[in-house]
Symmetry: C2
């Protein structure tokens, strides 16, 4: 087991990465003295796979538990679900030292983290990410959120977990589409910060997608280390540092929203967003055409979309203007000046954005 | 105008206190460059009285505004109201530098602060408290909250305002019952920290309740200074310091809840809670009987209840055990060792609590 630390003073926490470490969850949490009563937020699919293992591990460590199920769709990231969970949690929480365990992917993590942030003005929570996307990205950094009808992640809090337990063994049983979604974020980390990681992904994409433990361990470890470093230096996205993590996400979120969160998964939308951002970078003469094509090839070989389907361009542009990354009406893009090198650019002209969007083939 | 500062590093903010300063709100906010578009959360009663003045003050300062009404009852402090406000806010917030103004009493302030804390993971908000209770207590310190069916203030965040504008002139038109509610918190500040303030309240209670500007200015200024000092030193109630502010509130909240938030207002319930806490203090030989009687007289002369009506003792005790001030099942009381001197005591025996509750006459 490898442990990476997010350094945030009193709010620092460990990210444990290893194969088969779910069975040690109880021991790891007991060692941190997080609490005596776990409120596990998950969905039935995940619980069926890993619930028994987690519950027995908690029990051995003397931690009581209750399991709360939420739906396994983006729709669960709503204020209505949060309210239902909070009321159930309040009924569970009598004379207890309760803490929350988010057992699942991004939806479970975002919702559970938000509930932990606002229940009694903040109780401890830990992440046990069960998807590649959650292990490499969403479980780290304390961005919690639910959606509004008006937009994704519009409601939330910066609220750090007390620990992240990333068990690589959990990725083995993932559906290939979910591994691909996660690869979008891995490619992102390579592009913004780590050329070596990008090259590794280029060379090992087949091993990764076939669930090779060694390859998966390497990419989860690298991504977690990069994210931990960025979050340690810019927790609340007040400097350009953390903004880099939004590479591909500005347009990606608009594509997700324009497709009513049904046409594309998060990683797929981010892949398309990265294509657009790479093209904007090329148009603005930051990135050469060869690197741009190499990025497209990487996305393609990861089995992620490079074509738009069932989502109108106009819709994407109109949704884009509602993105919370806008500051006082100005847009803000993370662009590339090479593979492994990113920077924040404000006020990209609508014409350039539109051209880059139109350059994506539709099918 | 007098300005008191809450010192919290980058999150420091001013509390402006003065008579007739509402008309300067726009100028004060523009000077701080808080934002260009105000989303005012209030209720129709308050808006009718002060809305025009505030809107014209904002307009002169070049700040656009939209007014959102919530109900004028504790019921508005719900997740459902928060959701409705958040959705409306998201529709208003297009290409804007939006911030929230809480124009009202405790309910408006708690809800508006919570909405500001979680919208886009935090946008600026300012308080313009319109009740004595809000001016002396709830508008300062960043405790935001909504209620759950399971208990009051169970959901919320620590989130500081960017400014508080306390206009003493607004208190003139307050209903006498609301002035009395506020006096409960004033008495609290005197008891826990400021014997001189308590003595002032004893001598000037008639002037205060008749709306005398000078007397009100003095008590608002003193309470704000005490609270600012406490919050500056213990923002998140991690030390015993801020816990002192809960004097009278442990049992007070239970009384409010047991009366289904209808039998007693917050200040009235706190007054009864202070009577109980004073009696516990006497039982535990911290406080002499003479001081206890003096406290009772003060509460009585402020027109606050000293008798229980329509709320069962058993209900209060059972609700009390669900209070979030419980830590791992142990209770925690703020007790007095004299007028102006308080301390935190854990694990007060149920027998003593029960005796002190029974000692309150019922009618």
């Amino acid at each position: 087991m490898k442990t990476i630390r997010v350094n945030l003073g009193a709010r620092s926490y460990p990210i444990h990465i290893g194969t088969g470490i779910l069975r040690s969850a109880g021991r790891l949490l007991a060692a941190q003295a997080i609490g005596s009563d776990a409120y596990i937020i998950t969905n039935t699919t995940v619980q069926k796979k890993y619930g028994v293992l987690l519950l027995s591990s908690l029990q051995s460590a003397g931690i009581s538990a209750r399991v709360k199920y939420i739906a396994d769709t983006e729709k669960a990231k709503s204020l209505a679900t949060a309210a239902a969970v909070l009321e159930d949690l309040a009924r569970f929480d009598r004379k207890k030292r309760v803490f929350i365990i988010a057992l699942g992917g991004g939806v479970v993590g975002d919702l559970a983290g938000f509930v932990a942030a606002i229940y009694k003005r903040g109780i401890p929570y830990i992440h046990i990410p069960t998807t590649l996307l959650a292990q490499v990205d969403s479980s780290i950094g304390g961005k919690t959120a639910v959606d509004l009808p008006e937009g994704k992640n519009l409601v939330g809090a910066f609220y750090q977990p007390r620990a992240v337990i990333a068990d690589i063994a959990l990725l083995k049983s993932l559906h290939i589409r979910q591994l691909r979604q996660g690869m979008a974020e891995v490619i992102k980390y390579g592009l913004i910060k780590d050329r070596q990681l990008f090259v590794f992904a280029e060379k090992n994409i087949k091993r990764i997608l076939s669930g090779n433990t060694q390859a998966l361990s390497y990419i989860v470890g690298r991504c977690a280390a990069i994210k931990a470093d960025i979050v340690s230096r810019d927790e609340r996205e007040e400097r350009a540092m953390r903004t880099l993590l939004n590479f591909g996400h500005t347009i990606g979120h608009a594509i997700e929203a324009a497709g009513a969160y049904g046409a594309y998964g998060h990683g797929e939308a981010v892949a398309l967003g990265m294509l657009v951002a790479a093209d904007i970078s090329r148009q603005m003469k930051l990135l050469d055409a060869k690197s741009q094509e190499r990025i497209r090839q990487m996305i393609l070989s990861a089995g992620l979309p490079v074509k738009l389907r069932g989502v109108s361009l106009q819709k994407i542009i109109s949704v884009h203007y509602r993105d919370k990354k806008f500051i006082a009406g100005r847009n803000r893009f993370v662009l590339l000046s090479g593979i492994g090198k990113a920077k924040v650019v404000e006020n990209v002209s609508l014409l350039i954005i539109q051209r880059s969007l139109e350059q994506i083939p539709t099918c």
